[in-house]
Amino acid sequence: MDPRATDVPDLGFRAGDHVCAFYSGGSTSMHDVVVDFVSRGLRAGDKCVCFIDAPSSVRDRIPGELIPRNEVLQFVTEEEGYLPEGFFSKDAYIQNLEEMVKRVLSDGFERVWLVGNVSVVARKAVDMKTWFTAESEMSELAPRYPQFIMCLYDLDLFDGEMVMYVLKTHPRLFLNGMIITNPYYVPAHQLPGSA
């Protein structure tokens, strides 16, 4: 599979992107980013999956013609997406995510747009080292599939130290409506403590 064949140049995305985005000012700002991201994916005819709470806040803002079938847009709560067993497991998380992507692709979709608000990680006091290890591994996994992954971080919940970890674990950065290359990104194997 050549991921580049599934690029969406006009959006600035590249297949296999693992992008972080930051927001502040409450869930409305986050929903704005999600609505924009999902609308782009649906308009491209792709499958979209959202790990967010209060899905109606997004779904109600999506034009009906972009949702010809229910299965094109899937909502999963943050806990179901990140803590399906009630706690965070890096391996289970990555495995589930990969299986979901494969399943979508087997359903005939060419691409998968996956967006998740990771606030639950801070709220549930998930070990940050484990979490960012998972984020780093996701950056390694993402390029293998025609998928776009965007992780949303609330600047009211994550301090500067965490932000620096986010930047180290995401090769691309969604900023002010653009996706740019993150110069501070550190590949997983170069991170301190990596195997």
Partner: protein, 659 residues
Amino acid sequence: MTPTARGASGASELEPAVTARLSSVNAVFTLSLILTQASSPAQAMRLVITAIPSIAPCEKALAWHPRRSGDYYQRAPADVSDALARVTAPGRLASRDWSSWSAFPLTSPLADEPVCLMVESGDLSDEDTFLLSVLAQLCGTVIAKLELIAAERSAAQRVAALNAELQSTISTLTKIMEVHHRLNEIAPTAGEMGIAATLHQLTGCGVVIQDASGYPRATAGRVPDDYLAAQRTDRRTELIGRLRTARRAIYDDPAWLALANPRVDVLGVIALIDPARTATDTDLAALEYAATVLSLELARLQSLAEAELRSRAARERDIAQARAAELAASEARQRAILEAALDAVISIDGRGRMTYVNSAFEHIFGYRADEVLGRELAEIVVPPALRGAHRQGFARYLTTGQARILDQRIEMTAMRADGSDFPAEVTITRTGPPAEPVFTGFVRDITQRQRAEQELKASRARLVTASDAARQRVTRDLHDGAQQRLVTALINLQLADQKWESAPQRAKQFLGLALRDTQRGIDDLREIAAGIHPAILTQRGLAAAIDALAAQLPIPVQTEVRDRRLPAPVEASVYFFCSEALTNVVKHARATSAWVRVELEGSQCAVEVRDDGIGGAQPRSETSGLNGLRDRVGALSGTMDIISPAGGGTVLQARIPLP
């Protein structure tokens, strides 16, 4: 090439120290990008100071200001504030106790005591110092931008709030203008009902307009029946007192109330029925303006009513005054007429009691008014023999309405105060309302008139008798006198004619006798004619005629007659008055002398015939000579008096008005 491949290959080619420094530079650069996502200075500063340990080797990072604290920085400890205030460039604090702290101004050191990013650390390399300086400057820039944005946002919010407030105000004003427009338009044409209906349309609430006493004057919309019930006076007074004090609409369950004319006289109250208290400010503004319009409308109506009342009162007063004056004048005229009337005027009520008499009544009947007012008419003026019939007739009229004597002139007998009767002509008319009849009678004493009428009848009879006697006398005189003479003359003429041929001398004697008898016959005719109308009176006047008359009498008669011609009827009456009087003197008075005097006195001719005879003359019968003289004088509206004491001579005086 993927980022992962690029990052991996770059790191492998660089020295670890360079790689670490490059990573720090990347960290500062990337963090500066993230800072643009911050929503507030505090958030930006929190990100920076918590990220610094990831960028440079340090123990702690803070944000200080030497003199004060803010939402993203703290006030520096007192023992370091002076040193912090003297910071002019990034670097270690010049204070022994704070020598492990470095200060990185967020803005230019030239600025007045800027906020500093404080980092506690061991020795910092030049590169770290540079990166932290850059980070502080970037943080300062971001915070400045955020503050600017916040200020702009605040300004925008203020503007938006002002716009919203302005819009709300405009909307309210628009609604109020509509309220004013509609109420102003409806009030002059539809009055209170229009105001109530319009307020109901504007607010959707039921509306009641009450007067000051609480009685409903107009309603619109749904109004509870019990709200229209009369309110206790003390409760009403207390409520109006509250409205006066409030000077705006107040709520008195279940309605909002506003006072019409709250500062002067309370003209009314307007109620907006609102049991759920859902009325908006606009509704209450409409209520208060409706109260104002109601005030004007009620004041206008009151003014009109007062003006109408004043006008009507003035008109009625004028009319009443005019009527009173007219009535007074009429009564005065009527009373003056009645008082001046020669007839007695008597008014009685429905019970026959006397209510008014005039002066003539007092004169004719001999009563004073105060003696008779209130007493029954019948016992005062009706002779006892007639009272029963009078009372029966009066009662019959009152019972049946059938009147025999009303509104017609009748003659009846009336009774004076002294009980004497007299003939009266009475006219009775009815006045007054049907339920309170008033009868007014006009009574005229006709004693003199009846007497005059009787005298007139007698005079006419005497004139006829005298005329017949005169005609008989003339007939007799002609037969016994002139006729005999003329017959004798005729016979002598026939004898003369027979002897004319045979005995001319005898015939001549017969002619002489015929001439004598003819002359005597002519004398007799002249004498008879003189008794009818003397020729001398016509030819020479009254003085010559009376002188000739006196010359024929056997006693001396002295005359004193003005030699002046008078109207022929007057001269004839005076002549025959004197002739008859002198004849009576010769026949009856046994007088030795007589006097005749005729003079003009004013517009009358005064005649006096006097003798020195035996006196005691008086009319012996209707056909006596004296009555004949009175009739002759009376025929010319004259009067005659007789003065004839026994033994004292007789004087007849007559006064004949000149035409």
